[in-house]
């Protein structure tokens, strides 16, 4: 399951957009405290933390199983969570760029 396929999960009504975006602000703050290079973060760090959040929350697991998908092994489940992390982060980035969310 790709990032694109998980956009529909992120774009559904009822997705806690505001809560996730607040978490991204918090994660960026924590990650920037470690980043001494002055370069922009690569995105993978935030997406991975979001993958952990999605895994902990349990809603994506319900969504996947309810759509007839399986979670065969840890590699596959990890890829699904990471793709979801990217989908959320991409939406956040888009809304920051459009001025719909301010950090």
């Amino acid at each position: 399951m790709t990032t694109y396929a998980l956009k529909s999960w992120v774009d559904r009504g009822g997705f806690p957009r505001k809560q996730y975006f607040e978490l991204i602000d918090l994660y960026l703050q924590k990650l920037n405290a470690l980043n001494t290079t002055g370069d922009a973060l690569s995105g993978t760090q935030v997406a991975t933390m979001l993958a952990a959040t999605v895994d902990g929350e349990g809603q994506l697991l319900y969504y996947i199983l309810n759509n007839g998908q399986s979670i065969d092994d840890e590699d596959r489940w990890f890829q699904v969570c990471l793709a979801a992390g990217w989908a959320i982060f991409q939406r956040y980035t888009r809304e920051v760029e459009n001025g719909k969310w301010s950090t």
Partner: protein
């Protein structure tokens, strides 16, 4: 969360702790979201067959954080690189022998993200193959397009962007002492020991690197790994704007410089400055800047430092960009990138003078002999000195000579000090260099003399 440090180097265990802390935060925030989000959402909170992905998350986040933080890993008692890290790096090294476009395709084939650097894509592909050596070897074989100090004293002098604050450098080096950091793919620098003086710090370290290639001579392809290890000694002096690396190749020295830049935040200048050229008259427009550096060294600095009877035996001139041209390898057009003269008293030869002033070529390497004796009654011994201007540093090498080897180190130190002053202070005697340039210009249009006289000093006669 660990406190933010001045350096981008972080002890490995501190980075591990930071990763664990970040992931614990992310997972607990995920659980808390169940109660904070809109009503009516359904969660699966406890399902025994749900795969545990903590280790994959931890490894991915740690690798991603290594873009910003360089982990300094404590050396185990055997002094080796962590075998698990080495295993992963060797696998990446084998994968990066493939073209980036091929690696991206391999990533897409496994429905992985295909963006990012060569190393990032290689790591993703390796992860997808479970870091399995045999599978990676097969993958490389299936996708590759083509089969794929000397004796004496040597110092490399790197000009720095700023003067050294030795107290600061000492503190930052103590932080990484006994640890290693990764400075490239399958390449590490080990900060072994620090010898602290009042005015300087001597760092002893080792560059450890591994070459990886696929061995397909057996039934099953395997990865063949060739390790190499090079010791490097670095001298850092309070208030100096150069750093000195002893008895190391250019590649090892640059690896040490890279490690120091990361660990101590010092910055090398990246080129060899030729200061004071603006004060020159005829030499300024007759000579290339590298030639100005070399000729001032020969004509004034070495003499001022007490080196006598200088006999220039090798000159190497750069004729073009020596690093460029690989894209023209297929063409049949002949290209001359450098020319090297060997002989004696080369500065008196007409062809060398023509290259210097008529073609204004860069004199980038010289070898000379100097004669000296430890006692007036003893026959003087000859010592070879080599000076080369590299893209980012100057190398000085001194041989043990034809006798009295005990003098070799003293001569080497003298030559190194002269080169350091040339870098720091620039042209020592502009008037004298102008006169030399004028003589070279006259020689370029004339004949070689019966007896060398270009570098003759009244004190030599």
């Amino acid at each position: 969360m660990s406190e933010k440090r001045e350096s981008s180097v972080m002890r490995s265990e501190e980075l591990d702790a930071a990763v664990d802390e970040l992931l614990q935060l992310a997972q607990s925030e995920g659980k808390a979201l169940r109660h904070r989000g809109p009503k009516g959402r359904v969660f699966i909170t406890d399902r025994p067959d749900k795969p545990k992905i903590d280790e994959l998350l931890r490894r991915t986040l740690r690798t991603a954080l290594e873009d910003e933080v360089v982990p300094a890993v404590a050396l185990p008692s055997g002094g080796s690189i962590d075998p698990a890290e080495l295993h992963r790096e060797v696998i990446k090294k084998a994968l990066v022998t493939l073209k980036l476009s091929t690696l991206r395709q391999l990533a897409r084939d496994r429905t992985l993200l295909s963006g990012g650097s060569l190393e990032a894509v290689a790591a993703r592909v390796a992860e997808a193959y479970g870091w399995n050596e045999e599978e990676i070897a097969r993958l490389v074989l299936a996708n590759e397009e083509e089969p794929a100090v000397d004796s004496g004293h040597v110092d490399r002098i790197f000009p720095l962007a700023d003067v050294l604050n030795i107290g600061n450098v000492r503190d930052l080096l103590s932080y990484v002492q006994g640890r290693y950091i990764r400075i490239g793919i399958a390449r590490w620098f080990v900060f072994e020991s620090i010898d602290e003086g009042e005015e300087d710090v001597k760092l002893r370290g080792t560059v450890r690197s591994y070459q990886a290639s696929v061995d397909d001579t057996e039934e099953l392809p395997t990865l063949s790994v060739v390790p190499s290890e090079h010791e490097v000694r670095v001298v850092l002096t309070q208030g100096s704007d150069v750093l000195r690396i002893r008895r190391a190749s250019a590649a090892s020295s640059r690896a040490a410089v890279r490690a120091l830049e990361v660990a101590t935040r010092l910055q090398v200048l990246g080129y060899v400055p030729v200061r004071g050229a603006a004060l020159l008259g005829s030499a300024g427009f007759l000579l290339d800047s590298s030639s100005i550096f070399m000729l001032d060294l020969l004509n004034t600095r070495f003499r001022e430092a007490g080196l006598r009877d200088l006999n220039l035996t090798i000159c190497r001139f750069k004729l073009g960009d020596e690093t460029a041209g690989s894209e023209n390898d297929d063409e049949r057009k002949p290209t001359l990138r450098a020319v090297r003269f060997e002989g004696t008293h080369l500065l008196d030869s007409v062809p060398a003078c023509e290259l210097l002033v008529n073609e204004r070529r860069a004199l980038v390497e010289i070898s000379l002999r100097t004669r000296t004796s430890s006692h007036p009654d003893r026959e003087p011994a000859q010592f070879p000195i080599h000076v080369g201007i590299e893209s980012d540093h100057v190398v000085v090498a001194t041989g043990f000579g034809t006798g009295q080897p005990e003098l070799s180190l003293q001569i080497h130190r003298t030559a190194v000090a002269a080169v350091v002053r040339e870098i720091q202070e620039g042209v020592a005697d502009p008037g004298r260099l102008d006169e030399l340039a004028q003589r070279i210009s006259e020689r370029a249009g004339g004949h070689s003399p019966d007896e060398a006289d270009m570098l003759v000093d009244p004190q030599d006669q």
